[in-house]
């Protein structure tokens, strides 16, 4: 056999065909872990063309340098999609996806501790007629539970290769790779799998439909039978065929089959599920030895505390509070290091390059701007680190479980909790995650309130303001005032979402909320390797995506802030004034620049919020991305003192005074007002762009921007005016 492959491969080598392998599986089957174990960091994340569902793929090199592309499909429970990302996965598998052909091989990842439900999907995929490998994941957990699986028997019964693995322990991964290499190359010849659907009683009812499907593109008899059962059982499955030829004929056949089933007392909706589960239960009974359930598994014991009636919510609050507090305190160390390094880099550039526009742009535009954002990377890394742990341990689902009561009261579904929690990292993936919400009304409502969650781009703004203006006071040695203020900003966003959701569903988004069904996965130890991947991915995405925008905006800003240059006479006048010891307007350069003029234009509107024209510039530029206000301020304050490259932005803000009154520009009250504005306003073009894409209309992003701006203005106005009246203004 090897000789044959060798001669064959020398020919193939000229133009190696990429073998495409799809990973399919239930959510929580550990599919992504298997994907990570197979591909490591050789991953590519893109979008399916035309839609915003993520396409995760990675390359694997087989024998004779044969390339294998591993595609991580969105998680599905069955071949009948309930949401858009499920739709993509199903379309690819059934060969009805316009942008992605069906794969050469499907690896079905199944949670072995939960085999029946996982086999439901696996047997459906077998029936399509695609070559299938079954990867029995979480074998380590099965061993601990004393669960015995007859791998051979299962493979024989389904007639497919079955590979026992544990992605977490990196167990069986090599065997899985070998199986992929072996079967992936067979192409259509690799078709394997026995259909488990056998029911004489129903076969007769299905016969006309089976014939119809065989005449309309489904070759394999088992595939046609499976599809026949599906269109009988599920209205959505029938809808998938509605826009094709002969749909009326099909509807008629389905109608007839349903009537026949009804006449026999079989609920047509359950036709497929019942037959399939009956067969699966039989297979499992023959091949799995399950120890008598003691009823007190580890997860249940942990849940006795973590979702306890009283301890649960308290612990949840403490866990989240600790996370936010530690993001703030731990990240301080690397942040200082990055700040220092960038200051040193700026000085180096100044020494290497002659003074002039280029040096000016590099130091004050590029290094100062990008540096001011890069410095917050540690916090983003910390946030994603904790978020990944919460999700991978299974605790995130418990947060949803505990919080659902409130979500229901808000008219949001419990499924909204995950998109909303994701929005703490960034509203863009959060809004994309709303695709998992089946009810369109719930989905729209979630999209509209998601940007209130404090995303990681706001964190730099909070950190800068808190670090500069909130005193580091400890209360009782436990609570740290800056940490508490940070937590309040996050809470404010949540409260705003609650208020907005209540108002919006009364006047804007009407309709009924549906119930939600969510799996509570067993608690698992997180795998640090996988946590690392997630953090790395997030950090990379932040630096590359935000970095590009910020780099461009920084340079544009530097230009707006530096030009037009004041004429020579004005310069001399100012210099003379300075030499004679008189106070000069240190921002005279930026004031008459393009940016300064823009800021002064909006100053009358934002002054009641406590913002001066310099903050006004920041509000405008931060529309590109919220954290840009930090680089804007860095640029503005650096420009006034060209000799100092490593200006500590915090000190600069603290020392800034209004030239007319001599009062500080920034006070703790101004800082809080500014933070509140950033919590509530939709200062983010990426968010608006993704909303446009998801709702397929400009109506919702425009609406979102306006209503959030009104929220923000009113709140900041109230806080600043009331605060000033109460004497907190200085």
């Amino acid at each position: 056999m090897s000789a044959e492959i060798n001669t064959d491969s020398s020919r193939v080598e000229i133009k190696q065909r990429v073998v495409r392998v799809a990973l399919a599986g239930n959510p929580n089957s550990g599919k992504t872990s298997v994907f990570n174990a197979l591909t490591g960091l050789r991953q590519k994340i893109a979008n399916y063309p035309g839609v915003t569902v993520e396409r995760k793929s990675g390359m694997l090199t087989g024998p004779d340098r044969q390339p294998f592309e591993i595609i991580d499909l969105p998680g599905i429970y069955s071949l009948v999609p309930k949401s858009l990302d499920e739709q993509i996965a199903v379309d690819i598998l059934t060969g009805t996806c316009p942008v992605e052909p069906p794969p050469d091989l499907v690896v079905v990842v199944a949670d072995v501790t939960n085999l029946p439900r996982n086999l439901y999907l696996c047997t459906q995929i077998i029936d399509i007629g695609l070559p299938v490998i079954l990867a029995l994941n979480m074998m380590d957990v099965a061993r601990k539970k004393n669960l015995q699986v007859n791998v051979e028997g299962l493979a024989r019964r389904l007639n497919i290769p079955v590979v026992p693995i544990s992605a977490k322990q990196m167990e069986g991964i090599d065997e899985l790779k070998e199986a992929i290499f072996l079967h992936g190359r067979k192409g259509a010849n690799g078709r394997n799998g026995h259909s488990i659907l056998k029911s004489v009683e129903l076969a007769r009812v299905c016969e006309p439909l089976v014939t119809w499907f065989q005449e309309h593109g489904i070759d394999s008899p088992s595939g046609a039978y499976a599809e026949a059962l599906r269109v009988i059982s599920q209205p959505q499955a029938l809808e998938r065929w509605q826009n094709r030829n002969g749909r009326e004929e099909l509807s008629g056949l389905v109608q007839k089959a349903r009537q026949e089933l009804d006449a026999r007392g079989i609920p047509w909706k359950q036709a497929e599920v019942r037959i399939r589960y009956a067969a699966i239960d039989q297979i499992c009974a023959q091949n799995i030895t399950q120890p008598k359930s003691t009823g007190s598994e580890l997860s249940e014991k942990i849940d006795r505390i973590l979702t306890h009636k009283y301890f649960g919510p308290v612990l949840m609050f403490l866990i989240l509070a600790t996370i936010f507090q530690s993001i703030y305190t731990w990240a301080e160390v690397p942040m200082t290091a990055i700040e220092n390094a960038l200051g040193a880099l700026g000085q180096q550039v100044e020494q290497l390059l002659p003074p002039g526009p280029l040096q000016d742009m590099l130091v004050n535009g590029v290094i100062a701007g990008v540096g001011a954002v890069l410095v917050f990377l540690p916090q983003i890394v910390f946030l994603f680190f904790f978020l990944a742990i919460l999700e991978d341990t299974g605790y995130l689902a418990r947060v949803a479980f505990i919080m659902d009561r409130f979500m229901a009261k808000l008219g949001l579904s419990g499924q909204s909790v995950i998109p909303l929690l994701s929005s703490f990292a960034c509203a863009v993936p959060g809004i994309m995650a709303t695709r998992t919400i089946q009810n369109q009304r719930d989905r729209l409502l979630t999209i509209l309130v998601a940007p209130f969650m404090s995303c990681s781009a706001r964190l730099p703004v909070y950190t800068l303001m808190i670090g500069a203006f909130i005193p580091g006071i400890w209360f009782g040695g436990i609570f740290y005032l800056p940490g508490l203020v940070l937590l309040s900003m996050y809470l404010l966003g949540m409260v705003a979402a609650v208020v907005a959701a209540t108002i919006l569903q009364k006047f804007v988004v009407k309709g009924e909320s549906t119930s939600y069904i969510m799996e509570l996965p067993a608690y698992r130890m997180p795998v640090w390797r996988f946590i690392f991947y997630r953090v790395y991915e997030a950090g990379k995405a932040f630096v590359t995506n935000a970095g590009k925008i910020i780099m461009a905006v920084s340079i544009v800003l530097w230009f707006l802030a530096s030009y037009p240059k004041p004429d020579a006479k004005h310069q001399q006048d100012m210099l003379a004034l300075e030499k004679s010891g008189q106070t000069v307007d240190s921002f005279h350069e930026i004031r008459q620049s393009y940016a300064g003029r823009l800021g002064q234009l909006i100053e009358p509107v934002i002054r009641p919020l406590g913002f001066d024209w310099k903050i006004g510039i920041g509000l405008i530029t931060s529309f590109a991305a919220r954290e840009v206000i930090v680089s804007t301020l860095a640029t503005i304050y650096n420009l006034q003192d060209a000799d100092e490259t490593s200006v500590d932005l915090r000190t600069a803000l603290q020392n800034d005074r209004y030239p007319d009154t001599g009062k500080p520009v920034f006070t703790p009250l101004v800082a809080i007002s500014l933070m509140i504005f950033f919590v509530l306003a939709c200062q983010c073009m990426s968010t608006l762009a993704i909303v446009r894409r998801e709702t397929n209309s400009w109506r919702w992003p425009v609406f979102m921007f306006v209503y959030m701006l009104i929220f923000a203005y009113v709140a900041s106005f109230t806080v600043f005016q009331v605060g000033t009246a109460l004497g907190f203004g200085s």
Partner: protein
């Protein structure tokens, strides 16, 4: 095996009536439940044993276990899932 949606010969009550720790057998679904298909695919078919694991801290949703998986769903939905006591039809679900 009877093939009706609900088996009227037994005492039928809703899943929501279970107390934490109690088990019952799925007997059917009331009227049209939008999520019936998802529930069926997750294994809540007639004859499946379901256990109410616990009620969420604030009283809703509930956590149920069916075929080894823990699923949370709201009480409003649970009210429409019909169940029978396990003991009465022990033999029937064994096959």
């Amino acid at each position: 095996m009877r093939t009706q949606t609900t088996d009227s010969s037994d005492y039928v009550f809703s899943l929501d009536d279970l107390k934490p720790g109690e088990e019952a057998v799925i007997a059917g679904y009331q009227d049209d439940i939008a999520d019936e298909m998802r529930l069926l695919e997750m294994g809540l078919i007639i004859g499946s044993i379901v256990r109410l694991v616990k009620i969420a801290p604030f009283g809703d949703p509930i956590q149920i276990r069916v075929r080894g998986t823990d699923i949370s769903l709201r009480r409003a939905l649970a009210k429409r899932i019909l169940t029978r006591p396990t003991q009465l039809n022990h033999d029937e679900r064994r096959n």
